[in-house]
Symmetry: C2
Subunit: 111 residues, 2 copies
DNA sequence: TTTGTATATAACCTATAGGGTATATTCAAG
DNA sequence: CTTGAATATACCCTATAGGTTATATACAAA
């Protein structure tokens, strides 16, 4: 499963967020998530196969930890787009700088 | 549909890549992709509803253009992870610097 | 006002992701 | 060597994503 597909699942993103903080046992995640234990285990398998998490066994317990490397690929895909929106935001900024009176009226509106 | 889910589909990422270059007609995309015209139109609808593309009509033709703003959200989710892998790569780099003899032997190997 | 072109929508089909429950597995403890 | 715990796997079920073909829509051109 491709990294993007793996990340499409909100629960899996949530798991990664939790693991970003520290290692966790499967049981910890089961408590933290609105999901059955097998459900959590299944997501962990997907994450493992994608290389996004690693496991360390300690007796019957399994400590899952984050492995962020595959996210580099996502970042790489994103890179050329980042330039585009930064250019756009810069242009907007310059525009606002050029007409400071309009700034107050525009506050809170979308692009 | 969430931005991450929209991007999970390879064809849709391909469409965005094509639109990054320049505006395109639906027909252009149909030619460029191994997909029927309705198939392309469906993906374009998903991209439109996600705010990732915009349309300009010219007679019967529709020019689709990229709208990169929703990608900011992806970038934001990624940000805290970026720090992590950068830290890891830095550590690796320092490690290699510390043992320069091993560098040649390690060339080409994965992490 | 018919015809052709470009695109969208409808209707349908199939594979599969993600959830649940039941069960297997693995190991420590007694 | 039986029991209890933590986790993984098997199996089933359902919703839906993504593909296709057929058709509707919108507009230019003739």
């Amino acid at each position: 499963m491709m990294t993007f597909e793996v990340l499409a699942e909100p629960t899996r993103r949530r798991i990664l967020d939790l693991l970003r903080e520290r290692e966790r046992l499967v049981g910890d995640l089961v408590v933290a998530l609105p999901l059955s234990q097998p459900g959590v285990s299944k997501h962990l398998r997907v994450l493992r196969e994608a290389g996004l998490v690693g496991v360390r066994q300690e007796a019957q317990r399994r400590w899952y930890r984050l492995q962020p490397e595959p996210l580099v690929e996502i970042d790489a895909w994103l890179a050329p787009y980042r330039q585009l929106w930064e250019r756009r935001l810069d242009a907007l900024e310059r525009h606002l700088d050029a007409m400071p009176d309009a700034e107050a009226e525009t506050k809170g509106e979308g692009l």
